[in-house]
């Protein structure tokens, strides 16, 4: 199963489909990481609006994606977690700790733009932080 990945300036937008199996998710993870490396992206938006179930495996895989991308020096923001999905995640005890989340695509882009601004302004440059 293909997960569409779009390039938007120095950012990538990946749209996660509704019915991804574990194998699909893992394939998506490696495709996305490769794409981040190839395109030298500074930020990734993971759009999970269509995802109807976020179980333990899906949320762990998404957390791992964000951590891997961070090790590449880029930022990830998850957008579009549906209210009922968020409710089920909390009941199940799942968190997105350490991963940025935003309401929708617009807010996700804004978050990444802000991050890039603070990262490139000289006064905020602090090697070894973060």
């Amino acid at each position: 199963m293909e997960v569409p990945i779009l390039k938007q300036g120095s950012f990538l937008i990946a749209t996660v489909q509704a019915a991804l199996s574990d194998a699909d998710l893992l394939q998506f993870r490696s495709a996305l990481i490769q794409y981040v490396v190839r395109s030298r992206s500074q930020g990734v938006i993971l759009d999970v609006t269509d995802l109807d179930v976020m179980d333990s495996f899906a949320s762990r895989t998404i957390r791992e994606i964000a951590q891997m991308i961070r090790l590449r020096g880029a930022e990830t923001v998850i957008v579009g977690i549906q209210p009922e999905v968020a409710f089920a995640m909390v009941q199940l005890g799942l968190t997105m700790e350490g991963v940025a989340t935003a309401l929708d695509l617009d807010e996700g882009l804004e978050y990444l733009n802000q991050k890039r601004k603070t990262a490139t302004s000289p006064e905020s440059r602090e090697p070894g932080r973060g």
Partner: protein, 123 residues
């Protein structure tokens, strides 16, 4: 097969919607099925999930029975504690499923298998 996890939760959601559970409740039910199916795939490899309508007096509901003839759970009390996992996966499965649903029952015998029965009643 991990593809079957998706199939099971889709069928569960379809029945929940048909029984007129709200979208929020249907998501809770689909998520619980996903976790139960995941337990089967990771611990027992094969098993089955049966999903059917139920009735509790006037209240309609849904029953999900996840059974396998895998290795069984040695210490159920421990398995029901948050953060416990033997497969190194997550350890949220069973206690999480119990929170998602209304009724939760587990029967497990070492070497024979595990059956988890969960129910959710309409508000």
């Amino acid at each position: 097969m991990d593809q079957d996890i998706v199939g099971a939760r889709q069928q569960g959601r379809a029945l929940a919607v048909k029984l007129e559970f709200s979208p929020g409740e249907s998501t809770l039910i689909a998520t619980a099925i996903s976790e139960l199916a995941r337990n089967i795939v990771s611990y027992a490899r094969r098993g089955e999930i049966r999903i059917r309508p139920a009735q509790n007096g006037e209240r309609p509901g849904i029953v999900i029975v996840a059974s396998d003839d895998g290795p069984g759970i040695r210490d159920i009390r421990q398995a029901m504690r948050d953060g416990f996992s033997t497969s190194g996966s997550l350890g949220l499965g069973l206690p999480g499923v119990r929170r998602l649903m209304d009724d939760f029952e587990i029967v497990s015998e070492q070497g024979k298998g595990t059956t988890v029965t969960v129910k959710k009643w309409k508000l």
